[in-house]
Amino acid sequence: MAHAFKVRIEEVRVPAPDHVELIVQSPELAEALPGQFCHVLTPGMLRRPISFSRLERSGGRAGLLVQVVGSGTRWMAERQAGECLDVLGPLGRGFEAPAADRPWLLVGGGVGIPPVFAAAETWGGAFAPSLHVVLGARFKDYLIMAEDFRTLGIEPVLATDDGSVGHRGTVIPAVEDWVAQHPDGQVMACGPTPMLAAVSRAAASLTGAVQLALEQRMGCGIGACLACVVPAEPIGAEGPRYRRVCTDGPVFRREELVF
């Protein structure tokens, strides 16, 4: 069952310019699945959905890695250790655990990287040899958490729009390469919608599950208001049906979605 409660900020990290990672003490949140999120109270009219960047079950801690893009995320970035956040969560459908017998690709773009890291941290151990990670961002500073992957023993493939680190361009060529070599592979991806659409296309031929974690503007965050919808299968006479990111997602199978 979901909860609404105050969580204490234990530590504030600054992984990159315009980014902050709040480590909160909360056994409830630490039980979340990678890909789930919590809905954070900020001074505006609406809460802000933020995924988990790490889930330390044993320590009862979770991470919220936030990129400052507007008033709410700026407010979060100004928090200090010792203060509390008012959160609803954990919310939504997270990633399903990867199938043990398939090669596994993780793709993260921008602030889509944190949930992908949480997945690697939670399930990666068993997959060490067959886990491949591709990360993308607009430019170097925004390519966050690469170092965190390295501490898991994973060397991520990097891509930036301007080539300031890793390949110049998007993550897609690297995804396509991997797909070509791993027809029985499975994928988990999170990032901007155009990236997910491209991953979905690139991974269409895979026999394993392709799980995509989407973003959408939210009202309630708990399934009541139908604000957070995205176009989904089946496509009827009027077009695709609409499904909720907050409860039907954020993680969908690629077959469920219409881009």
Partner: protein, 311 residues
């Protein structure tokens, strides 16, 4: 303090605080956060005879002290509602109000007739903010004649208490209220959202997928209080007030303007537990301003409260 509210046709609320339609789903969604048994009532999301798809996303946008939404009345239709949500509603002890919508007078009548047979539905709230697709898309609630016809058709098919929800987007919302009372409405609820828009600078287009949206939240409270006051000054049936309520003081403001009960919407997204806090705080707030009972506060700011038969 006794907070019970007695409304027409035997509709009784434990207290005057209900969840506003569209902000509380069909009931089960918020059950993990709010003990529904403590609420005065729940007005469920708008229900049409057939499923409605709703508007393209994005569907919400923040504005100063307000929220724009363009959900477009997405709902799975009355059959799915009866099958999937009414069983849950049977497990809770609060007034259940079915908010109903249609694109034609016949659709309103159809959904009212069908849901009228379901004992768990305690009352109807007729949302006349839908465009009449037969008559060129003009919103039912903007035309007293069309609003009259909708209410008349609903009245013909149900003995349950019926309130009609008034749009704030006309010059004289009370004219529509008077029309639906003439057609047999037992109560008025007011207000629905104001039409508004925001621009997405990057996309260079209106921010909401549906272009315009409905404005709700604290920003609209003064508009809502005024409309409740004007309607309560003119019609003899009870008024259910709403628009921007976020505290027990706000509830008192609507009561004094003539509302017998209220609904709480947008603030629930921020604070799911706020309705319960308001219910807890209400007796104290009433006392602070010298009201010995809920009843005393109702209409206390109206010009000729006594002539209106309130005391």
């Amino acid at each position: 303090m006794d907070l019970t509210v007695r409304l027409p046709r035997g509709l009784v609320l434990k207290n005057p605080v209900m969840a506003a339609s569209g902000t509380f789903g069909f009931g089960p969604e918020y059950a993990a956060y709010v003990d529904l048994n403590r609420l005065g009532g729940v007005s469920v999301k708008g229900i049409s005879p057939e499923p409605w798809r709703g508007n393209p996303p994005p569907r919400v946008w923040e504005t100063p002290a307000g929220l724009l939404n363009s959900i477009g009345l997405q709902n799975p239709g009355m059959d799915v509602f009866l099958q999937e949500d009414v069983p849950f509603l049977r497990t809770v002890d609060t007034a259940v109000i079915a908010n109903i919508i249609g694109h034609t007078v016949e659709e309103y009548a159809r959904v009212a007739a069908r849901l009228s047979q379901e004992p768990r539905i305690d009352a109807f709230e007729v949302n006349i903010s839908c465009p009449n697709i037969k008559e060129g898309g003009i919103t039912f609630g903007h035309d007293p004649d069309q609003a009259f016809r909708v209410m008349q058709a609903v009245r013909a098919v149900t003995e349950k208490p019926v309130m009609v929800k008034i749009s704030p987007n006309t010059a004289e919302p009370w004219v529509v209220a008077e029309a639906v009372v003439a057609a047999g409405a037992d109560m008025i609820s007011a207000i629905n959202t104001l039409v508004g828009m925001a621009i997405d600078f990057k996309a260079r287009r209106p921010a909401l997928g549906g272009r315009t949206g409905g404005l709700s939240g604290p920003a609209v409270k003064p508009v809502a209080v005024r409309i409740v006051y004007e309607i309560a000054s003119r019609v003899q049936v009870p008024v259910i007030g709403m628009g921007g309520i976020e505290s027990a003081e706000d509830v008192l403001e609507f009561l004094m303007a003539g509302a017998q009960a209220v609904m709480v919407g947008t603030i629930t997204f921020q604070h799911p537990e706020r309705m319960l806090e308001i219910i807890d705080a209400l007796p104290k707030v009433l006392q602070t301003y010298g009201f010995a009972s809920l009843r005393e506060a109702v209409g206390a700011a109206l010009p000729s409260r006594k002539e209106n038969g309130w005391t």
